[in-house]
């Protein structure tokens, strides 16, 4: 019988199925961080049990850590207590921790792939919704709550119902200045922020296949913004080449064995999906959001929608969003003044993102009234950027290269955007108050963000490319 990529992995991980209920799903890899794990460890301790398979859980500190002076004690007391609790819990339960100061520390969804921990055909979870990122390797990867973190720590399993299956195809060749972030913002603008709720989403088509692993991760990362339970892309030579030689990648005979399994991971030709979309890469231009959910995006040359051009149900949402954003219906987004630029987050903080920004800004200077923060996704990304001289390019442009963490994506540390200020951000969420109470977020690609850093306003990057 024909199967989808999702079904092949899912079925391989079912321990048992409850009649009329969910299945017991085995979890291969579990990532934890300081914010959503403390209560799970407390739960284990209350029951008097230890982590069942500590070797399959990997910890890092990323959500609330400062991105300056990481060698000093964390000033903010509650953040420090969470980081210390993580350290203590990992030590007590024998879980490997890549904490502050460790060369492998970084955003959980950046370090998993770059260390070769994330591999095709796996089930991967973390108490963070952007766990969908790891699906770029052809794995089932999804975010969970803290009760579920406790379940995985206790049993290496979760109770899960099989989601419906969706395939989103993007075929063709991307236009100049258009990158993977634009693809995913475009899809979101078409299917909305709840368009994939209840579905596992496979991304396919020639435009997706042509992307690098890091670009694929950006797409799967934001599948949760469509409501998707997870996002995944069938592994191919690009995937295998990326993994080969990574710190924890299988070696020698184990590599050959893994590769044979990985090569079987694709949706069969006549596999059936519950829903399918087709988009053309040529239709996509550099994208930007104007509202307060990631589905509220437009091409950078477009106009903000008016109430009479949108669905009746979305009208009240539009006016509430635009009031918060201080933007007008029907006006151009291009030319909108920007105060902050944030290049970072599990969506766009990898070395290719930094290279893309550096090659664009080389020899240019940021606009004088704009503050630009570049926050690398991990210590390894930071080290690589310095080795390539990217730090110098940023310094000359007036961009500040900070230290790894989630940073201004969610403003749990000091990196907050002040109320009323506009931030063009390469992160994943433009929700009210996400980057700080009252902060106004415009989501865009690293290239579009870099262009705004130089001009000080929302800019069509294509006009600045040779």
């Amino acid at each position: 019988m024909s199967k989808t990529l999702f079904e092949k992995i899912w079925e391989k991980h079912i321990v048992k199925t409850i009649d009329g209920g969910p299945s017991v799903l085995y979890i291969d890899r579990h990532f934890i961080h300081e914010v959503t794990s403390p209560q799970a460890f407390t739960g284990l301790n209350k029951r008097g049990i230890k982590v069942f398979r500590p070797a399959q859980t990997i910890a890092t500190a990323d959500h609330n850590v400062p991105t300056l002076n990481q060698h000093l004690p964390i000033k903010e007391e509650l953040s420090r207590l969470q980081v210390e609790a993580l350290k203590k819990n990992c030590a007590e339960h024998g879980v490997e921790l890549y904490g502050l100061g460790h060369p492998f520390q970084g955003i959980v969804h950046v370090i998993g792939p770059e260390l070769g921990i994330t591999q095709p055909g796996m089930t991967i979870v973390c108490g963070d919704s952007h766990t969908s990122t790891h699906g770029a390797f052809g794995s089932i990867a999804f975010g969970i709550g803290t009760s579920e973190v406790e379940m995985v720590l206790a049993t290496q399993c979760l109770l899960q119902s099989k989601p419906k299956l969706m395939r989103i195809n993007v075929d063709g060749v991307l236009n100049k200045g258009v990158v993977s972030k634009d693809i995913v913002l475009y899809i979101l603008s078409k299917i909305t922020a709840s368009g994939a709720t209840g579905y596992a989403v496979e991304f396919a088509g020639s435009a997706i296949r042509s992307l690098s692993m890091e670009a694929r991760m950006t797409i799967c990362n934001m599948s949760i913004e469509m409501g998707g339970r997870c996002g995944l892309i069938a592994p191919d030579e690009t995937t295998f080449n990326y993994i080969k030689g990574k710190e924890f990648a299988p070696k020698d005979a184990a590599w050959e064995k893994s590769l044979a399994y990985w090569q079987s991971l694709y949706s069969d030709k006549d596999a059936v999906f519950d829903k399918e979309y087709h988009f053309k890469a040529e239709d996509i231009e550099p994208m930007i959001t104007y509202g307060t959910n990631p589905g509220m995006g437009i091409g950078v040359s477009g106009k903000i929608p008016t109430a009479d051009t949108i669905n009746e149900n979305d009208k009240s949402g539009l006016s509430k969003s635009l009031t918060y954003m201080g933007l007008q219906q029907g006006s151009n987004i291009k030319g909108q003044k920007i105060d902050y630029v944030f290049i970072g987050s599990c969506t766009n903080s990898r070395i290719e993102d930094l290279r893309m920004v550096a090659s664009f800004v080389k020899g240019k200077k940021k606009a004088s009234d704009v503050e630009v923060w570049v926050v690398p996704g991990s210590k390894q990304v930071e080290a690589q950027a310095i080795a390539e001289g990217i730090d110098k390019i940023f310094e000359e442009a007036g961009f500040m290269l900070r230290q790894p963490g989630c940073s201004a994506c969610l403003g749990m540390n000091e990196d907050k955007i002040p109320a009323g200020k506009y931030c063009i951000s390469t992160s994943n969420r433009n929700f009210e108050g996400r980057q700080g109470a009252g902060a106004r977020t415009l989501l865009a690609s690293p290239l579009t963000a870099a262009a705004a850093a130089i001009t000080g306003v929302v800019t069509d990057v294509r006009e600045l490319l040779n």
Binding site: V35, A85, S129, S147, A193, F431
Partner: protein
């Protein structure tokens, strides 16, 4: 986990769509290492002017004495965004046992169920009927019958829930208890697949 059978209560309406978990509980309040005490920061930035607890926004329903009860009623696509279980904890801590909406995000729905908060998904039309009621109206949510009733008009709608989850909620069982009871199956699975 506290069991749920029938809840008969007034309700608090928050007639806004796409309420994400950053609105339910902003990230800056996620720094506790326990599950208690989040209720006071539920909808924090919609509840207070400039983050000041002495300046409640008068038009926000949670600040209006007329509204009370164990049932929160919200616009469609409730709980989208971040996986933070703190959203479910804050709702429970604020005294709610039921959330009614016409659509729930997946992770929130699981988190709610794992904490004894019942997500009741109704049709858009039924949701509008609830929002049209005044603050004196009570709702009855009967988990056994899987029904929700507007007491004043006797209008009723059926809601779906996975039968396993229903049993858990009716009895106050946790998933974790169930999973721990299947340890032998899990170990056998590991032997077979490695």
């Amino acid at each position: 986990m506290k069991a749920i059978t029938t809840i008969n209560s007034h309700f608090v309406p928050v007639n806004i769509e796409n309420i994400d978990t950053d609105q339910i509980i902003p990230a800056r309040f996620l720094k506790a290492t326990t599950k208690e005490g989040f209720g006071k920061n539920l909808f924090r930035d919609w509840r207070y002017e400039n983050d000041d607890e002495t300046k409640p926004k008068k038009d926000f329903p949670l600040n209006q004495p007329a509204y009370s009860g164990e049932i929160l009623v919200a616009g469609k696509n409730f709980g989208c965004g971040s996986s933070r279980e703190h959203a479910a904890w804050s709702i429970l801590d604020a005294g709610f046992r039921v959330v009614v909406s016409s659509f729930f995000a997946d992770i929130f729905k699981n988190n709610a169920l794992n904490n004894g908060v019942l997500p009741v998904q109704v049709s858009d039309a039924f949701l509008h009927k609830i929002f049209a009621q005044d603050s004196n109206t009570e709702l009855t949510v009967d988990l056994e019958k899987q029904s929700i009733t507007i007491n004043a008009t006797n209008e009723q709608e059926h809601f779906d829930i996975n039968s396993y989850k229903k049993t858990c909620l009716l009895n106050g069982y946790d998933d974790i208890d169930f999973l721990l009871s299947t340890k032998e199956d899990i170990q056998q699975f590991e032997t077979l697949t490695t």
